[in-house]
Amino acid sequence: MALPYLSLAIWLPIVAGLAVLAAGGESNARAQRWIALAGALAGFVVTLPLYTGFDLQNPGFQFIELTPWIERFNINYHLGVDGISVLFVLLNSFVTVLVVIAGWSVIESRVSQYYAAFLVMSGMLNGVFAALDAALFYVFFESTLIPMFIIIGVWGGPNRVYAAVKFFLYTLMGSLLMLVAMLYLYNKSGGSFEIVDWHRLPLPLPAQGLLFFGFLFAFAVKVPMWPVHTWLPDAHTEAPTGGSVVLAAILLKLGAYGFVRFTLPILPDASRQLAWLMIALSLVAIAYIGLVTLVQTDMKRLIAYSSVSHMGFVTLGFFIFNAYGIEGGLVQMISHGFVSAALFLCIGVMYDRMHTRLLADYGGVVNTMPKFAALMMLFAMANSGLPATSGFVGEFMVILGAMKKSFWLAFIAATTLVLGAAYTLWMYKRVIFGPVANDQVAALKDLNPRELIVLGALAITVLAMGVYPVAFTEVMHASVNELLRHIAVPKI
């Protein structure tokens, strides 16, 4: 029990990443792949005790590690997870394993750098979710930009440089303003970077308002919320498959996680005051971006826009201030992590064979790839929120929460059930069904065992989460209730 699981979850992948780099040049690609897989698996295995050993009744932080780091600024290496963050550590480590397997035979140039970038990023992302010290959080939060920048820029599509630079500068802009906000809080709290201390810090409303916007920029860009979402379609479209998967499954969650960890508990009054703004932006994302998604002709772009729309649900859930909303938002985050990862992997499977992402180039894939068509069907259903898949649970809970607040809110939010089904199933129909479109489709080979393992693992998780969501929500209950109690008390 005494093992520092969180530190292991952070540093094992990073060390494995460096080992892959050290394993040398292009000739050693085989060994590098195995080291990467071993590192990713080890990183996943050490996160399992976080779930099995988790105390469901305890709303506070568990698995705490605390060591002074920079005493001059009172910064500590302080790690811990509560019901809100623990699942993301697991999700991230799980997805990393899949990404490593998915890139197995696809990535042929600079293999060691590719795997190293993913493993290092995986460790850093675990660090973001586990950090209880704001400075540590920031260091991990911003460090993840570097590997992602490299991943998009080196292994991406034709317009990769533009996308990589846009991704970097957009997210950096947000996080720099957050840095100012954090330094202000550090000063106000009398020199503490402990997030928990900031939760208790009384703040006047005008200051809360300014800080709210400081954090909002950082998190809204990451989520991404309308209207700062425009980097996402570019980044997704140009990134390699693994990059898209990590981007959709984990990186987008950082923003939403930031809202629950920082904005809501530190600035509860400003959050309540400005909830209308957040709700309005979320509804625009759900409804308007849903419509934008319909007209996309590039599959990756389509899924990217659908991510924006789905993440709108998450922010909507957070800012309606009830347990359904917040838990629904968190469940939606996890579910979206699995589903979007799966869909990007599906597109990757087709892209590897056809080297095109345009819907117009496909048609009748079911004739040549039946196994693939069946699995993708499941993920498409989950993306449109069909009951018994993970996509349903989160959306349903958020709509339920919205209904408690106002009927019209729930009504607009529920348009996603129509729009989501429309764009996902229409895409699925155009790609998979119909007569075989061209010779290339006719020559397609069905899934190989490696792809089957990756997609199969995701299919099981998506179904399990849809059928038995309690396994996920019971972990959150105590912490979410505590959060709601905390937000209810004004701290002006």
Binding site: E71, Q113, F149, F168, L177, L183, N187
Partner: protein, 496 residues
């Protein structure tokens, strides 16, 4: 008095004596070495630097860490001076090692370069330890004259000569401004010693007439300092000189002199004129904002790496000023140590980054090929993955992205500015540093995303490869454990 006692009394100037004696000896030794055996002079310089470092360490940590005034208050030895001196030795030493191959290839590794470098370092050491206007000015001129000559080292190059002329004219002008301001303050206070000046200003500051006189002098002092630091709008010389000078000399100008410029800013403003803090802080705020804006925005338009790094220097000096201007809040000096310590940390980290960046340019240059355009870095990650990685660390550190030392430098000064209530300035600073991130990112893009125009690995001297790697990794190490260097800076400022 017998000799040992005189020696003991003057122990704190031992490093200066060693450099002076070493440089003079080197001049003579160099006469007797043929150009094939120039390496002898090169190693003599190494010996001088090592001896200096040993002497400084002895003065500071063995002899007793007290603050000592020497020569009737002309010279001061304290923790800050010794830390900055050690940093200067290190950066001069690195400059020497990095430049070796470059200068050899171009036939410039002559005794002049090494001797001038040592004399310039002596000037810097005197600046760092100056306790009076007189020594401060002497040190400054000694350093500047050596640097002027070094810029013109390649005397057949029109570009270098032009740069040297510009540097000389503008340098002389700025020295004039500084001297004029000092004479005003001398007129008002009647003393050249900085501690004495501080004492009389605290009495004078109350009276309006004397105050006008003092502030008038202060304006010139700040303008002169801004010239030396290279803060906008007194930055004009920096891009031309950085561009025109041989890269090895640019490396020298871009590193250690920043440390001594910081030291004289602390000595003049913080030690000498603390009573006028409100006035000079407002001036510095303007300089800081302008420098960050001009430096970051103009750098984007540069296609020449040396010019780009020159504008980046301007921006970084603006950032460093953020720390200097946050010390005194409404007459309250409670957070002064934090603010000046942050500025000192910033300037040291900046010097490490600058050494690495220019060192990389030297490393990539060969006989007959100057690496100075952005395009020369294209596809570096293919040709030399390791040094592309080192350069990437340098660039991200310059951009202030964690986990690199540049990030903590930025956080430290921003934190100081925010606690002093300069929130709008801090917001402006981060927005401008976002602009700055673009051009550092462009270098990473060139190295990693583009294909190389020429193939082949990059050759290089083993000792240079080793040191350049260590230089980059040091930034990463300070990025993960910044505590030791930070503490050193704060202790140095506390004991001021």
């Amino acid at each position: 008095m017998n000799l040992p006692i005189i020696l003991l009394d003057h122990m704190p100037v031992l490093p200066e004596i060693i450099v002076l004696a070493g440089a003079c000896a080197l001049m003579i030794v160099d006469l007797y070495v043929t150009s094939e055996r120039r390496v002898v002079s090169y190693y003599v310089a190494h010996g001088v630097l090592v001896a200096c470092a040993a002497a400084t360490v002895f003065v500071q940590w063995v002899d007793g860490p007290t603050k000592l005034y020497l020569f009737s208050g002309l010279f001061v030895s304290d923790v800050m001076s010794n830390v900055l001196k050690l940093a200067s030795y290190a950066s001069v030493w690195l400059a020497l090692v990095y430049s070796r191959q470059y200068l050899l290839d171009r036939g410039l590794l002559r005794g002049e370069f090494i001797t001038l470098l040592l004399f310039a370092m002596l000037g810097m050491m005197i600046m760092i330890s100056a306790a009076s206007f007189l020594t401060l000015y002497l040190g400054l001129e000694l350093m500047s004259l050596c640097l002027f000559a070094m810029v013109a080292l390649n005397r057949d190059s029109a570009q270098s000569t032009e740069a040297a002329m510009k540097y000389f004219v503008l340098g002389a002008l700025s020295s004039g401004l500084l001297l004029y301001g000092m004479s005003m303050i001398y007129g008002a206070t009647g003393s050249l010693a900085l501690s004495e000046v501080a004492r009389s200003t605290s009495q004078l500051a109350a009276a309006t007439t004397d105050r006008t006189f003092l502030v008038f002098g202060l304006v010139f002092v700040v303008a002169g300092l801004a010239f030396k630091i290279g803060a906008a709008p007194f930055h004009m010389w920096i891009p031309d000189v950085y561009h025109g000078a041989p890269t090895a000399v640019t490396l020298v100008i871009g590193s250690a002199p920043k440390l001594s410029a910081f030291a004289i800013a602390i000595r003049l403003l913080v030690n000498g004129l603390p009573e006028l803090a409100q006035d000079w802080q407002d001036m510095l705020a303007l300089l800081a904002l302008l420098s960050m804006a001009v430096g970051n925005i103009t750098a984007i338009a540069q296609s020449n790496l040396k010019r780009m790094l020159a504008y980046s220097t301007i921006a970084h000096m603006g950032f460093m000023l953020l720390g200097l201007l946050s010390g005194v809040v409404g007459g309250n000096r409670l957070s002064a140590d934090d603010a000046y310590g942050a500025a000192m940390f910033y300037v040291i980290v900046y010097v490490i980054m600058s050494l690495g960046a220019f060192g990389m340019l030297l490393y990539l240059s060969r006989a007959g090929f100057e690496c100075e355009n952005l395009d020369d870095l294209r596809g570096l990650s293919r040709r030399s993955p390791w040094f592309a990685f080192v350069m990437m660390v340098l660039m991200f550190s310059l951009a202030g992205i964690p986990p690199t030392a540049g990030f903590y430098a930025k956080v430290a000064v921003l934190s100081a500015a925010i606690s002093a209530g300069w929130i709008w300035l801090a917001v402006a600073a981060v927005i401008l540093s976002l602009v700055g991130a673009f051009y550092y990112l462009r270098i990473v893009k060139l190295m990693y995303f583009d294909e190389p125009r020429e193939g082949g690995a990059v050759p290089g001297h083993p000792e240079m490869r080793l040191l350049l790697s260590a230089n980059g990794l040091l930034l990463l190490a300070f990025g993960i454990l910044p505590q030791p260097l930070m503490n050193l800076c704060f202790v140095a400022i506390q004991k001021l």
